[in-house]
Symmetry: C2
């Protein structure tokens, strides 16, 4: 697994990555992800307090950010790229509990150990905060804590949707839901009806509780039904989003 700097981001990925803020010094004011992340809770006057404790970390595709059970010494904010959260069973069965995109926050853990593992899906850049210092910020800036709570509530709602999906939906419903979900997070900047899938079929299966074969077959079925097109395996054009919504179980996506 290569960890080199000139990390390949598969060609497709670069479409998702705003070319802003590449080699950044340490300020938050210029951060491309700030407006959509928890940091937005701070006024520009308070930003230096946060900038003082942060640092950047980069990851190549497939590289681990941390493992379940590691001491939870850091919190992160995704700046660029996509990472996955997942849990493992002893025999290797994997459940991905979420994909994080730029602006998403990572590391809320009330015990002192992470309860899940995190790995880069694409080349990714994360903003890293030591836990202890970050918690001091929370006391100093209640706005920040408020924002985290708001974040957490969204995460809980998303988790409940996912439980409904995993517990009760068919493979076709799962895929339809997934594609509509991804459309909200990873639409191609050039074509509005094209969804970029930065992750592998294995990852999609591990997220939806299916095997790669079932994912592949179901995508093929959606294609043959006319709901979607597949210019290539990592790109989906949504042709009939009404059909997808009907299949997905709706939930007002």
């Amino acid at each position: 697994m290569p960890t080199n700097e000139k990390s390949p981001d598969g060609g497709v990925i670069s479409e998702l990555v705003p070319a802003v803020a590449r080699r950044e010094s340490g300020g938050c004011a210029a951060c491309g992800a700030r407006t959509q992340s928890v940091c937005a809770a701070l006024s520009s006057g308070d930003l230096p307090a946060m900038a003082a404790i942060r640092s950047d970390v980069r990851f190549a595709p497939g590289q681990s950010v941390f493992f379940e059970g590691d001491p939870a010494d850091f919190l992160f904010n995704v700046k660029l790229g996509v990472v996955k959260l997942f849990k493992l069973l002893a025999d290797g069965r994997t459940q991905i509990t979420g994909f994080l995109f730029p602006g998403d926050f990572l590391g809320l853990a009330l015990l002192n150990k992470y309860s899940y593992s995190v790995e880069a899906v694409t080349a990714a850049e994360l903003c890293k905060f030591p836990r202890r210092e970050f918690e001091a910020l929370l006391v100093r800036f209640p706005e920040l804590e408020h924002r985290l709570l708001s974040n957490a509530a969204n995460e809980i709602a998303a988790a409940q949707d996912q439980m409904l999906l995993l517990g009760r939906k068919t493979a076709q419903e799962r895929l339809a839901t997934f594609l509509l979900m991804m459309r909200k997070r990873a639409t191609s900047p050039t074509q509005a009806d094209t969804v970029i899938l930065p992750m592998s079929r294995q990852d999609i299966g591990d997220f939806l509780g299916l095997t790669i074969e079932t994912v592949s077959r179901t995508v093929t079925r959606l294609r043959k039904s006319g709901a979607i097109e597949l210019p290539d395996p990592n790109r989906v054009v949504i042709r009939d989003d009404e059909m997808l919504k009907d299949l997905s179980g709706i939930e007002d996506l």
Copy 2:
């Protein structure tokens, strides 16, 4: 659906309900659930501010607390009994996302609508707060918000465990996990190795992503294997918790 006061609690349930705090005036100091709920974040001097906006509501088994889509005007704290959170698909398929016990908090919703439905499993008593007034308390008492965030983090971790269960575990693993989970929340006060199941087989199935038939068959299989005994359908004696832990996928329960 009767809402009468002398509500039947199925006989089994009363074992779970500490006989404290039955006909309570309005103070929080005497509340049996306080020490284990978010209210514990407040010092006794601050309690009156919370007591001023609260009221009690009671529910008979099967009665609805609120529906998905209702305006989220209230927050709740479970004082007595058990309630379930669930989501529905259009055709009636149900996924229960959690059971709440005394001390558990309910109603975090960042939009102004509830994103799930809640119903009483047993006779239940809830402490009810108007949302607007409660949010004012959060501003006044950062400790309270901190506690809510801590709560939310636990809820997220539990949701991730449940996703692993729903996405990747077999029926037997699901049941084993469920029984160990319930042991932590609903052990009989008289016998330490006996778990009380206040909910129906249908509820267990809707929580574990299984049908009632599979739940029933799997419980029977666990019984025949010697892992558990069933004095009656709502009571499980754990005979071999090592076997259950092995089956469950462990996760340090």
